[in-house]
């Protein structure tokens, strides 16, 4: 399972500055387990956005947004409704946001940050990759991740090494920022590339021990923890009973 966390509301609203009509695209895979994409969380976010003056024109839940084939078939039926929105707000890991942009060719903003697990790449990855950097910038890069697509993981635009659209590292590797530029150009989002992306916090690339142990952490650790907690509760109520006697 990929672990995500909700972005602060202020950051989400900053991303949505130019957009009023919002369509929510929710991944029903990992964010369910990570409790960032549960129906309750989605309702909470909807309330917050409405209060901030945004109009929620619809929402859709798709199991595993990282599975582009699935996203394609599910979203193609809803494309007309989607197009009536100014932008999509995606509750998923970085791969889901990129896959959604690639399929819909619409402006899509991430509502979540993907937490580092040290390199686990989605359940159905296609060409998109997510570094789990914990500070998602896909809102400002045309829905293509500069960290994974650029050899140097540059955040503020291409270096001088791009030639004929290819990267200096290898002639068969496209320049990541060329791809980002072309996508932004196609979507009319060139101005969003002008945003200055500040220094990153690389300590977020490290990951907690509990995620180090296993990718089935949620199943193995969380459930055991819940069981243990239940046992604790049972024990303490037993003790209360004993005291009461």
């Amino acid at each position: 399972m990929i672990v995500t966390e909700r972005k602060e509301l202020t950051e989400i609203l900053e991303q949505l500055t130019d957009d009023k009509r919002i369509y929510l695209v929710v991944c029903g895979g990992c964010p369910e387990g990570a409790k960032t994409g549960t129906p309750e969380e989605v309702e909470k976010l909807k309330g917050e956005l409405t209060e901030a003056g945004k109009e929620i024109v619809g929402d859709v839940r798709i199991d595993f947004l990282c599975n582009k084939a699935l996203v394609g078939t599910r979203l193609s039926r809803k494309l007309d409704a989607l197009r009536r929105a100014d932008a999509l707000l995606v509750l998923s890991c970085g791969i889901g946001v990129q896959a959604t942009t690639a399929i819909t060719m619409m402006k899509a903003h991430p509502a979540l940050n993907t937490v580092s697990m040290g390199g686990f790449q989605g359940l159905f990855p296609s060409a998109e990759r997510c570094q789990e950097c914990g500070e998602c910038v896909l809102s400002y890069t045309g829905g293509i991740c500069p960290i994974t697509v650029c050899s140097k993981s540059l955040l503020n635009g291409q270096c001088g090494g791009s030639k004929n659209g290819m990267c200096e590292v290898s002639t068969d590797r496209p320049c990541g920022w060329q791809l980002i530029w072309e996508r932004a150009h196609e979507l009319g989002l060139e101005d969003r590339l002008k945003r200055f992306i500040p220094l990153r916090n690389y300590s977020r690339w490290d990951f907690p021990d509990e995620l180090r142990t296993t990718v089935r952490w949620a199943l193995e650790v969380e459930e055991t923890r819940e069981e243990e907690e239940a046992e604790e509760v049972a024990k303490s109520s037993d003790r209360k009973k004993e005291k009461g006697q």
Partner: protein
């Protein structure tokens, strides 16, 4: 007069460039510096150019200050994280180095240590922002510095890139981050450069056009194929091809001088990267009439 003062005064400014050697035999580099001394305003020192391990730019720039040659300390983001970059900036200021040129840096696999770990903690824009922050008396974590440095901050741009828009967006970011002068990638087509200068007319920072003298027709063809943002027109390649081996430097100086002459009205200076052919620089400038 320093590079900053020369550009402020509005005169056409010429800078040169040297690359430190791989090892401690510095006599050729010293000869190159002697060739350039008194002829150009300042001399760039490349930072582990092409990712090929060599003597460091910081030490060479420090030595140049002692020799009375104004250095431009090139700094890439390839090899140092934010701790090392900030520390080296303080070291540079302490050695009397005023000019710093911020670059991304060629990728590690292009050089002679392809297995090295690339860093890129900062990029060229955030490096400029970092220099500005240090000048304000703080480090990147907001801690006070006991004594703040003062720099003249430079950046680069590729005027003949295709598409040009992403280059311009990045240039705007660099100026926003504090860049005070721009040295460009090599230009061989004045018309293309003129079009670029029109596109960046809103950027009020002096721009020095980059000039790399051609050494041979083969080198020109190689650059056309392999170097980003460089297009050498066929007539120039033909001119180099027709030159006898002994005349190549002379013909090359004529081409470079003519390019500067054609473009000096469009920008505030020229940055000459002679790749070792420093003894021709005097002729180039004579032909360029600067």
């Amino acid at each position: 007069m320093s590079l900053r003062e020369a550009l402020d005064s509005g005169q056409f400014v010429v800078t040169g460039e040297i690359g430190p050697p791989k090892g401690l035999d510095t006599h050729e580099m010293m000869e190159e510096l002697e060739d350039l001394k008194g002829i150009v305003q300042a001399v760039n020192v490349t930072d582990i150019q092409s990712s090929v391990m060599r003597l460091g730019a910081l030490a060479v720039c420090g030595k140049m200050v002692q020799m009375g040659i104004e250095p431009v300390f090139q700094m890439t983001c390839r090899d140092r994280n934010r701790l090392a970059l900030q520390s080296d900036l303080l070291s540079a200021a302490w050695l009397g180095i005023e000019n710093v040129l911020a670059l991304t840096g060629d990728y590690t696999t292009l050089g002679d240590h392809p297995g090295a770990k690339p860093v890129y903690d900062l990029d060229s824009t955030t490096l400029l922002q970092t220099i500005t922050t240090l000048e304000g008396g703080k480090d990147l974590s907001g801690n006070d510095l006991a004594g703040a440095p003062k720099f003249f901050k430079g950046a680069v741009v590729t005027p003949c890139a295709d598409p040009i828009e992403p280059q311009i967006i990045k240039l705007e970011k660099k100026v926003e981050a504090g860049a005070q002068f721009i040295q460009t990638q090599a230009v061989y087509d004045p018309a293309q450069f003129e079009a670029f200068m029109k596109r960046v007319a809103h950027i009020k920072v002096p721009i020095l056009v980059g000039i790399v003298p051609l050494k041979s027709a083969g080198m020109a063809r190689f650059m056309n194929q392999n170097v980003a943002g460089i297009t050498i027109p066929d007539p120039l390649i033909q001119q180099m091809k027709e030159a006898k081996k002994d005349d190549r430097m002379k013909v090359s100086a004529e081409i470079a001088g003519r390019l500067i002459k054609d473009m000096k009205g469009m920008c505030q200076g020229a940055h000459l990267m002679p790749l070792g052919w420093t003894r021709m620089v005097k002729d180039v400038l004579q032909i360029a009439e600067v």
